[in-house]
């Protein structure tokens, strides 16, 4: 057996906030891990968490934090597995308090917990002039509707918390792969200016951050890409060597598959230029990555590289952007498409009378044209579902669209069924860049 300083195992216990929990427990029990990472923050998650926090100051962290921590902490504590997660969301300190209370209720002792704050940068943006990356519009165009503004932090505060002995590190917004790079930098004392190692560490984090998506999840295409055991899909872990090479594996006996094909799909997932993947710690270069299959469900990864980071951090801004109203109703059997189309035409005429702009309305016939705007097969579907959506600054117009779809029951074509209507507030996301040196992460440590 190698010493922990020469090889470490980092497991991926969640790929998004609502992910399965049983595969994480399996990793804890059978993965022989040193670190377990839960990546739980999608683009919009933190703004929604901030809305909860504004109603209740003790909330604003991941809604499944308690369930995950209760399920995994006893096994992690008894095996010395350290947990890193962005489940702190919009309130890492409240997440810490909650986790501490859970640990105490489980009778766990000698536990060191850290919360990392400083990603919330609304105050930094207050005075400055910034340009929104997505539209080129000034930040002022949305300023009065901002809910949250969070900078993507790098690995540094996590490394520091681990260096200080934290067994559990809870963060808000951190670049996803940095959650995985941090334990390697901590364990191996990697030189931060060694951009080959930093790039390789980001490759590792990128492959693992979506959990099951590298181990056979989101992959199966029957007859072409078959995956067995998807009902008990194993989550991945990386076995990382001091010199940077790592292998992607899963627990023996778990479902799923890990090979060149699954790893290549995940390597290119959400990537633009593979030679320049920007993160706060390094601009990673995936272009020279090699994937070698070593027996079953084990792929060794080499060749990640990198360049110095830009010195700018991306800030993700969540803001109120009106309301989305939606209604759906199904038509089936003979002439279903014609009745669905008639229903759509009726509503288009009615909405035109109320001057709802056409660009804020969308009509789909699910089963025919909802995904690609046109059918890819010439066979008539046995059923279609009309879906009407509207975007409006007025909640009453948003609600009216759903009601109009429901009213097709008694006023529309024959045989409509299963109508539903809903309205929700739109929380939109745009981004700006700010100089990294303005952002000051803080570490809050507590012990029990």
């Amino acid at each position: 057996m190698s010493d922990i300083s020469d090889v470490i195992r980092i497991g991926s216990g969640a790929g998004y906030s609502g992910d399965r929990i049983d595969p994480a427990i399996e990793l804890v029990e059978k993965g022989n891990l040193d670190f377990l990472v839960f990546e739980c923050l999608a683009e919009r998650t933190i703004a929604l968490a901030q809305l909860r926090r504004s109603r209740d100051p003790q909330s604003g962290f991941d809604p499944l934090l308690e369930e995950r921590i209760r399920a995994c902490l006893p096994g992690c504590a008894s095996r010395g597995i350290r947990i890193i997660s962005n489940m702190g969301a919009a309130n890492p300190q409240a997440a810490l308090a909650k986790t501490k209370a859970i640990a105490q209720s489980l009778g766990i002792k000698n536990l060191s917990l850290a919360a990392i704050t400083g990603d919330e940068v609304s105050a930094l943006l207050a005075g400055g002039e910034y340009t929104l990356l997505e539209t080129g519009a000034p930040l002022d165009s949305i300023r009065d509707r901002i809910i949250s503004a969070n900078a993507y932090l790098g690995m540094e505060p996590i490394v520091e918390a681990l260096d200080q002995g934290a067994h559990i590190v809870l963060t808000g917004r951190v670049a996803d792969p940095a959650l995985f790079l941090a334990p390697a930098v901590h364990a191996f004392r990697w030189d931060r200016q060694n951009y080959r190692l930093m790039g390789q560490g980001i490759v590792m984090g990128h492959l693992l951050e979506c959990a099951g998506q590298v181990s056979g999840g989101y992959f199966a295409d029957p007859g072409y890409k078959d995956v067995s055991g998807l009902d008990h899909l194993g989550f991945p872990f990386a076995e990382v060597l001091r010199e940077g090479t790592f292998s992607v594996r899963k627990v023996d006996g778990s479902g799923g598959r890990i090979d060149q094909a699954t790893c290549t799909e995940q390597l290119l997932y959400e990537i633009h230029d593979p030679a320049r993947y920007p993160t706060p710690d390094v601009i990673a270069d995936f272009s020279g990555v090699s994937l070698t299959e070593e027996g079953s469900d084990c792929v060794t990864v080499r060749g990640g590289k990198g360049h110095p980071p830009s010195g700018q951090l991306k800030v993700s801004i969540g803001y109120r952007d009106g309301y989305q109203g939606e209604g759906q109703i199904s038509y089936g059997g003979v002439n279903a498409v014609a009745r669905g189309q008639l229903a759509s035409e009726i509503l288009q005429k009615r909405f035109a009378r109320w001057q709802i702009p056409a660009e804020d309305l969308r009509f789909d016939l699910i089963g025919l044209n909802a995904l690609y705007g046109k059918g890819t097969e010439s066979v008539a579907p046995a059923e279609v579902r009309l879906r009407v959506t509207v975007r409006s600054m007025s909640p009453s117009i948003a609600a009216k669209v759903g009601r109009e779809v429901e009213a097709l029951y008694t006023n529309g074509p024959a045989g409509g069924g299963g109508a539903v209507a809903q309205v929700r507030e739109i929380v939109a996301i745009q981004s700006v860049l700010i100089p990294a040196e303005l952002v000051k992460p803080q570490i809050h440590l507590e012990k029990i």
Binding site: E43, R44, L133, E134, Y218, F219, D221, Y224, K225, A261, T264, E265, Q266, L267, L268, Y269, E270, I271, H272, D273, P274, A275, S287, G288, V289, S290, L291, D321, Q324, D360, L361, R362, D364, I366, A370, L371, Y372, G373, K374, T376, R387, T389, V390, R391, I426, V427, A428, I429, Q430, S431
Partner: protein, 106 residues
């Protein structure tokens, strides 16, 4: 022959931009696919769905291409009115692209 017969694919999204990987099953198909699965061919396939530029990145070591499609997601996942606001299903649509028979293209 559809692209689906020789390659697999996954879609990712960042804001209003979609990226679609195309990964071949057999390495010997790479050079040929590179010659037929051009930016123009992909742009035509997504006509009416993608408004912005299409860029192709080549990864011969991995037997893969990465297509980046700008202004492709109706304003992005948080504003789009689409049923599949992430554009997750675009990869399957790309795999339905009809390729010329091998040998018909030099």
């Amino acid at each position: 022959m559809k692209l689906h017969e020789i390659a697999h694919s996954r879609t990712g999204d960042k804001g209003n931009t979609s990226n679609i990987s195309v990964i071949i099953y057999k390495r010997e198909d790479y050079a040929w696919l590179k010659s037929v699965l051009t930016v123009e061919c992909v742009r035509q396939h997504f006509l009416g769905m993608v408004r912005g530029e299409v860029i192709r990145y080549e990864l011969p070591e991995l037997g893969a291409f990465n297509f980046v499609l700008y202004d492709a997601l109706g304003g992005g996942v948080t504003r789009s009115l689409a049923l599949d606001a992430h554009g997750k299903t675009l990869s399957s649509f790309l795999l339905s692209l009809e390729l010329p028979e091998k040998g018909q293209v030099d």
